[in-house]
């Protein structure tokens, strides 16, 4: 029988998904209003991964989300304020405003963040898992990357090393069917990226990445086993990003029909329906939760406005070590 959350965990999970969703919507609005600069990659549609992965991990397990990872960062512990502050480049940002959206790193919550160089965090994660193994810890490292990233040489080199050294590294491929504009079916030579584990004598699995209970229970099962018997694992989660790749994307490379189909499979609505079925939430309570989340994020955003930024002189302190 499929794994099911109890009521408490269901409510917490829903809150996380709604927070991720609303956070990204807010970021999108702020961009439109010119209140955030640079670029950003929004994870709307992928909330089941955000709410399913980090809660299934131990507090001391590390994650390395990719560039589309705000939701993961929140799920691992950073507050919306921490991240919004970073996007607004103020001193209170997780990276003091030095990193921005592509580099949300929060070591307090064991989040080593994303590299802007797609695919380069994969071997970094192997190194972290190796060091944890050397130290005799029972922790795992989970690195997230996209379908397109699985074509980088770093993927190959990293998975091979993880396998020969048996390090507890969970490779989570978030296959949302597209790179920037190129469909995975044109750039990835296999249907299921999970089969690439064969090349490294590694276990793997494909799951529905929009089913939050499945994501959670799979990650839990795999990582529990990895702790006992350190080894890597390649997990592929099929999902979809609703919005464009980044703010300037006109999405000419895919059809409105496809987008509509995937919106039918919204991870939030699907889980909400289950919660209602199970009597864990009512429509009204759901709306209330949504409104609360919205208010919280609005408040966090307001709190960022006009706040102080790091100065040039201070920034020099981060360049060199001694």
């Amino acid at each position: 029988m499929a794994f099911e959350f109890g009521k408490k965990q269901s409510l917490e999970t829903m809150k996380l998904m709604l927070t991720s969703r609303r956070f990204e919507e807010k970021v999108n609005e702020m961009f439109m209003q010119g209140l955030i600069h640079g670029t950003t990659h929004l994870g709307i549609g992928q909330e089941a991964l955000h709410a399913g992965v980090s809660p299934a991990l131990d507090k001391d397990d590390w994650i390395l989300p990719n560039h589309r990872g705000h939701g993961h960062c929140i799920a691992k512990g950073s507050t919306p304020y921490d991240i919004m502050a970073e996007l607004m480049a103020i001193r209170d940002g997780v990276c003091k405003g030095m990193g921005g959206s592509m580099h949300i790193i929060d070591t307090r919550y064991k989040n080593m963040g994303s590299s802007g160089i797609v695919g380069s965090a994969i071997p970094m994660a192997v190194g972290m898992a190796l060091q944890m193994k050397r130290e005799g810890r029972k922790n795992v490292v989970c690195t997230m990357f996209g379908d397109a990233a699985s074509n980088r040489g770093t993927f190959h080199e990293a998975l091979n090393m993880a396998s020969i050294w048996k390090v507890p590294s969970l490779f989570l491929c978030e296959n949302n069917l597209y790179g920037m504009s190129v469909p995975a079916k044109y750039s990835v030579s296999v249907e299921d990226i999970a089969v690439r584990a064969t090349s490294y004598n590694m276990e793997s699995r494909v799951i529905d990445g929009n089913d939050v209970e499945l994501v959670y229970s799979t990650v839990k099962e795999i990582t529990d086993s990895m702790r006992m018997n350190p080894r890597p694992f390649l997990l592929e989660a099929k999902t979809y990003r609703w919005l464009g790749h980044s703010k300037s994307d006109r999405r000419e490379y895919r059809t409105k029909e496809e987008e509509a189909e995937w919106k039918e499979r919204c991870p939030i609505s699907m889980f909400k329906d289950k919660m209602i079925d199970r009597g864990f939430i009512t429509e009204k309570a759901f709306e209330k939760m949504k409104a609360d989340v919205e208010a919280e994020i609005d408040a966090a955003t307001e709190a960022c406005k006009g706040k102080e930024r790091v100065s040039l002189n201070e920034a020099f302190d981060y360049v060199y070590s001694s």
Binding site: H37, G38, T39, E86, A89, C95, K96, G97, M98, G99, G100, S101, M102, H103, S115, G116, I117, V118, G119, A148, A149, N151, R152, G153, G179, M180, S181, V182, Y186, S187, V188, D249, E252, Y253, R309, V310, S311, L312, A315, F316, V319
Partner: protein, 331 residues
């Protein structure tokens, strides 16, 4: 003559060359329907199809090496990399392969390959998407490197690069993409290795390239109001470097300032300074040659700081004033 943007100039150069020669092939990520991350190839897929538009997986090292292999047997690839920062991923293909195969084979092969990469800060893209990495390549024999600053130069130099039988690195700056300028519609080329005096002057030579050109030109304009006549030399090519034009200019003005966006320490300006030092111009200097470059810092996301780490008009003016008035920057 029509006014078009730098991006359009690149698009025109590529399209004209691809029309003329089916072996000219654009290779890169999201260059098809998407038209390239910055839009350089917008609309080209329709005309050229997938035979001349090779949209790649995220495999920078692989597709650079692939292009290099194909170039030796007839293809004339233009490799576009989405951000110049990813030059690190293709440096092996360029430095260890493209630059050396003609030499290592005793002249058996040619490598007619163009590498296009957008450099530069100012877009809020932070440390890994904002660099100016020209010095990764300027010390490599076998490579030619151009770095145009105007749509006119971009089109003419890109055409020369495509027609060159060796590897040419064609660097672009993101903040110049929307800049407009007059560009002839048909065919013309600009010789690689020739600098261009973008403004004549008699008191000081400001030697620069790419995005710092408009900054230096504006500074020169403002300095003119103060009675200082600045000559602005646009290098356009870094390798080969047009030392003749540089030297002539400095012999005329007796003072020189070299400006670039990349960090000052270890930046290309050092080569220019040394070239002046080694020439007759040295004996004509009324002040030491000055340099302006980026601060010793990765590019931050924080936009306030991002603006402060590259030279601006006031920096140029101030340095020129010092050169002209006190005969140099005493320490």
């Amino acid at each position: 003559m029509a006014e078009i943007t730098f991006l359009q100039a690149i698009n025109e150069a590529m399209s004209e060359e691809m029309r003329a020669n089916k072996n000219v092939v654009l290779i890169g990520e999201d260059i098809g329907i998407y038209g390239g991350c910055f839009g350089a190839s917008r609309g080209m897929l329709e005309e050229f199809g997938t035979d001349q538009m090779l949209e790649t997986p995220i495999s920078e090292e692989g597709f650079m090496d692939l292009a290099m292999g194909a170039s030796m047997i007839g293809m004339r690839p233009i490799v576009e990399i989405m951000f110049g920062d990813f030059s690190t991923l293709v440096s092996d293909g360029l430095i260890n392969h493209a630059a050396k195969y003609k030499f290592m084979t005793g002249g058996q092969v040619e490598v007619p390959l163009v590498f296009r990469a957008p450099f530069g800060s100012g877009t809020g893209a932070a440390a890994q998407h904002s660099q100016s990495l020209e010095t990764m390549f300027t010390n490599t024999p076998g490579l030619k490197i151009v770095y145009p600053a105007t749509p006119y130069d971009a089109k003419g130099l890109l055409k020369s690069a495509i027609r060159d039988n060796g590897p040419v690195l064609f660097f672009e700056n993101k903040l110049l993409y929307r800049a407009k300028g007059e560009v002839p519609e048909g065919d013309y080329t600009i010789e690689i290795g020739k600098a261009d005096i973008k403004r004549e002057g008699t008191d000081v030579s400001i030697i620069t390239y790419s995005r710092m050109l408009p900054v230096c030109l504006e500074a020169a304009e403002q300095l003119a109001a103060e009675g200082i006549s600045a000559e602005v030399v646009d290098l356009r090519s870094l390798k080969p470097l047009d030392t003749e034009t540089i030297i002539k200019s400095v012999m005329k003005t007796s003072r020189a300032l070299v400006v670039h966006e990349a960090p000052k320490f270890g930046g290309f300006a050092g080569e220019v300074v040394a070239a002046i030092m080694e020439s007759e111009a040295f004996y004509h200097l009324d002040a030491p040659v000055a340099r302006l470059g980026g601060k010793e810092m990765p590019v931050p996301y924080n936009p306030d700081i991002e603006k402060q780490i590259v030279p601006v008009i006031d920096d140029v003016k101030e340095t020129v004033r010092k050169l002209v008035n006190n005969g140099g920057v005493k320490v």
